[in-house]
Amino acid sequence: MILLTKSNKGWFALFTVPLLLVFTTVVIIPFIIGIGYSFVSWDGIPANPKVFVGLDNYIELLKDDRFLTSAWHTIEFTVLALVLVNVLGLAFSLLVTMKLRISNAARTMFFLPNLIGGLILGYIWQFIFTDVFKFLGDKTGWDSLFFNWLIHPQSALYAMVIVFTWQMAGYTMIIYIAGIQGIPDELGEAARVDGANLWQRLTKIVFPLLMPSFTICLFLTLSGAFKIFDVNLSLTKGGPNNATELFAMNIFNEIFGYGHYGLGQAKAIVFFILVAAVTLTQVIITKKKEVQY
């Protein structure tokens, strides 16, 4: 450990200040300004007036049904996505770190979806869920599976989970791979010699040492899912009937669709606080379980 002696303070500053400076000007200060804006009524156009309204926006949003519904849907979406993305990502990473000849190719293939930006992804999948599914439904007759997922509220949400998973599984996969690579082979060897089977090796050796990766992946999936916007916009546009208007889209519509800038900001602050509480708790817990060796 480095104790913060006088000379070490200098080093501390040298190592951290440059990034902190950029970070503060680009993220922290705008965020604080944004908090300030949540207390005004404004339409977002610089030349138009800002009217201070105190806590009105906050009171307003508690009465906003659509906001509350969208928050609930976002939570639903996030929980599903969290599980699916990480299970798949972990499974892929385990499969891919086995010494199979096609491991390299497979790893690239699983990661490919992540290379496509969110907007286009949404358009391609929209096409799949509408036209392709209809086509498959006609051909195979399985129309309990192959109908247009996007025009029914519940299945539209599932469609979003699928698209998000498709995009993110590879992402978490490579983080898990980095973690798995960091586990020395001797440990696995020693355990096998001791008679441990695959499942025991996984749960007693791999998973605990993979804790840093879990911290990261759980957190990334959580934050990615809560903030989802591009795919939301291009896949469902929030429909049908706002059933898939997730949180970031609700704010966006409030700010740019309706022109209620202050209200939109207030919503953002509220949700940020809630989500931060949940995810920071997660990070602190899993960080404590990380092993330094």
Partner: protein, 278 residues
């Protein structure tokens, strides 16, 4: 692992991977069709594999310029992120006090902020910097690089933070005893051991920045500065998309990233060839 379980694992893997890639097949196949053909069947292979839409897309996008811009911005941004974030994360991990924890949690928590809420205030801040400090932050590539670093700092610090624990403190202490300054310890001992996570951060950031549409669209205005995603706007009309050009444009956009990924991932492979048989 015995032979049959290998075979079945391999087969499973291949099937999964192919199913996984079917949307990409769609994207490629439709970059060769015109609207009428696409309407008739979006799944079928195209009548002809002429690259006319690719050359048309490249021309409309001013591909060479756009590519140069994207490349410059992405590479410089990623280098800064990697260098600054690794330094910051290391110092935070090794200095175990309240301040470090607070800084770390601040980084982490800002990852939850949706960009939409920062957009407008960010523009104001950049405008203020330009007006008061006379540093051009908008409509310049340097400004975009600065903002990229700011936005990707959190994630990089977060990733590095987790992996620094895999660097044995003993090595660092030994180096310090040998007379290395903090700088030396970090660059000679620690950073080389972070190779895997550095490549991972680089890959994730390259992809994010290369594909980024929103931030560059707000900060870059001139045609000569456009990155590749910005240059594809021609194909996305208000009600409809010129699918063939858009898909061709998209393919052109991701080819460099795929190449980079294939090249970079070699460095993540450790011991797959030399490792023990599981």
């Amino acid at each position: 692992m015995n032979r049959t379980s290998r075979m079945s694992a391999s087969t499973l893997l291949i099937l999964l991977a192919l199913a996984f890639l079917s949307p990409i097949y769609l994207m490629l196949v439709n970059s060769f069709k015109d609207r009428a053909e696409l309407y008739k069947s979006a799944l079928a292979l195209p009548k002809s594999f002429s690259f006319q839409y690719y050359s048309k897309a490249m021309e409309k996008m001013s591909f060479a310029t756009a590519f140069g811009n994207s490349l410059f911005i992405t590479v410089v941004s990623v280098i800064f992120v990697v260098v600054l974030a690794s330094m910051t994360a290391w110092m935070l991990v090794r200095t175990d006090n309240k301040l470090s924890q607070i800084i770390f949690l601040t980084f982490v928590s800002t990852m939850l902020i949706p960009f939409q809420t920062l957009m407008m205030p960010l523009m104001q801040v950049m405008d203020w910097i330009r007006g008061t400090l006379h540093i051009p932050m908008l409509n310049t590539r340097g400004g975009l690089i600065y903002m990229n670093v700011g936005f990707h700092a959190s994630m990089a610090v977060f990733l590095y933070h987790g992996f620094i624990k895999s660097v044995p403190v003993a090595l660092e202490e030994a180096a310090t005893l040998d007379g290395c300054s903090k700088f030396g310890v970090f660059w000679r001992i620690v950073f080389p051991m972070l190779k895997t996570i550095t490549i991972t951060v680089a890959i994730l950031d390259v992809i994010a920045m290369w594909n980024d549409y929103l931030l560059p669209s707000l900060t870059l205005s001139d045609k000569a500065l456009r990155t590749i995603p910005l240059s594809t706007f021609y194909f996305f009309g208000e009600f409809t998309i010129q699918w063939n050009l858009a898909m061709a444009g998209l393919t052109l956009t991701i080819i460099p990233v795929v190449v980079f990924y294939m090249f970079a991932q070699k460095y993540i492979i450790k011991g797959i060839a030399a490792g023990a048989v599981k």
